[in-house]
């Protein structure tokens, strides 16, 4: 059974909570950019994710008779996290969130208010405004935000049960661009920190988790891998490895060598 990989629970990893939800898996995945709903489902299962994000868009009446995303990615199987992707104002994000709540009967919302088309970086003031309004309206707000410790602090103070700083631009696959800022955020806020966007491969996932991130949210890194199903597995393992390493506590780095084999008893020829 040399290749068998134990689950989080078997390895003694702690579960984590956001709002009233408790998860074993520290990987959250998106449902965009897959070739089919079936491929999406297979990857979601291979990734071990318990929560998946979805977008809200106008019904395509031409395609309306075919299967829908939620017929395959079932709310009975996964916690569905609707997002406000594509919103460029607090007003649009609030309305979209309200429609998500009506559609999915959930108070969870991944708040995304975009400030720039090319980078898809968040509009921080608009994100703060929308977060405030949604919290006042009873939502469990998970905000996608710049890797800015002060913005994360503000979101925590107003009642967000987690913050979701980016690692790199959405869909860029650039990996952890500013590990120092993520470390500061992790030391600054007490709520879970979910690194959202920018990872490209399994080592990126491991790095984010080794820094101490509570969880990781990704989409393109799996969906646009050459073999998405295999990458979904790799990401599951990367997250597990990174989290285990974080919990284990790494050895200190030193500049010079330190022999692993005993010096006593070395033969003298």
């Amino acid at each position: 059974m040399g290749t068998e990989v134990k689950t989080n629970e078997e390895q003694g990893h702690s579960a984590w909570k956001v709002g009233s939800f408790e998860f074993q898996s520290r990987l959250i995945i998106g449902t965009g950019k897959y070739e089919s709903f079936e491929q999406n489902l297979a990857c979601a299962e291979a990734s071990g994710a318990e929560m998946v994000t979805v977008a809200l868009r106008r019904v395509n009446f031409d395609a309306a008779k075919g299967p829908r995303l939620l017929d395959v990615i079932s709310p009975k199987r996964f916690v569905i996290l609707p997002n406000t992707a594509g919103c460029y104002s607090a007003d649009d994000a609030v309305t979209t969130a309200q429609m998500g709540r009506e559609l999915l009967e959930t108070d969870l919302i991944k708040l995304e208010v975009i400030g720039d088309e090319r980078t898809l970086f968040p509009d921080v003031p608009a994100t703060l405004e929308a977060a405030k309004r949604l919290i006042d309206d009873g939502f469990t707000v998970l905000p996608y935000i710049t890797d800015d410790p002060v913005a994360c602090q503000r979101l925590e103070a107003m009642g967000c049960p987690a913050v979701m700083p980016l690692a790199a631009p959405i869909g860029s696959g650039m990996g952890i661009r500013n590990a120092a800022n993520l470390r500061i955020i992790l030391e600054t806020v007490e709520v879970p920190v979910i690194v959202d966007a920018g990872v490209g491969t399994a080592s990126d996932a491991a790095v984010a988790m080794e820094l101490g991130a509570t969880a990781l949210l990704m989409n393109t890194a799996i969906a646009h891998a050459k073999d998405p199903l295999k990458m979904a597995t790799a990401m599951r393992l990367g997250v597990l490895a990174g989290r285990a390493a974080y919990e284990a506590g790494r050895m200190p780095k030193r500049l010079y060598a330190s022999a692993s084999s005993p010096l006593d008893g070395t033969a003298i020829f």
């Binding site: 998106g30 965009g32 809200l56 868009r57 309305t95 429609m99 559609l103 949210l217 989409n219």
Partner: protein, 77 residues
């Protein structure tokens, strides 16, 4: 158009996901979803930016010029 005509069928135009649609008054959100064959689908509806909750579909009457957004969950990250 005077008040005495308000109970008789009148054609009116509203916008569904941006496209003009001609319907016969009176017409509720439930009637519109039925006409669009969306009855059994999991959707959310807003009329002029206001969310219409499912329990109000049968009483929420639509009017000339209303802008209706009908959204569903799709793949996204």
């Amino acid at each position: 158009m005077n008040a005495s005509q308000s109970d008789s069928p009148i054609e009116f135009t509203l916008f569904v996901n941006g496209d003009p649609q001609t319907l016969i008054s009176p017409c509720t959100v439930a009637d519109l979803l039925e006409a669009l064959e969306m009855g059994g689908h999991r959707v959310a509806v807003a009329v002029n930016r206001d969310i219409v909750v499912r329990s109000r579909y049968k009483e929420a009457e639509l009017a000339d010029g209303d802008r209706i957004e009908i959204l569903e969950a799709v793949g996204g990250g």
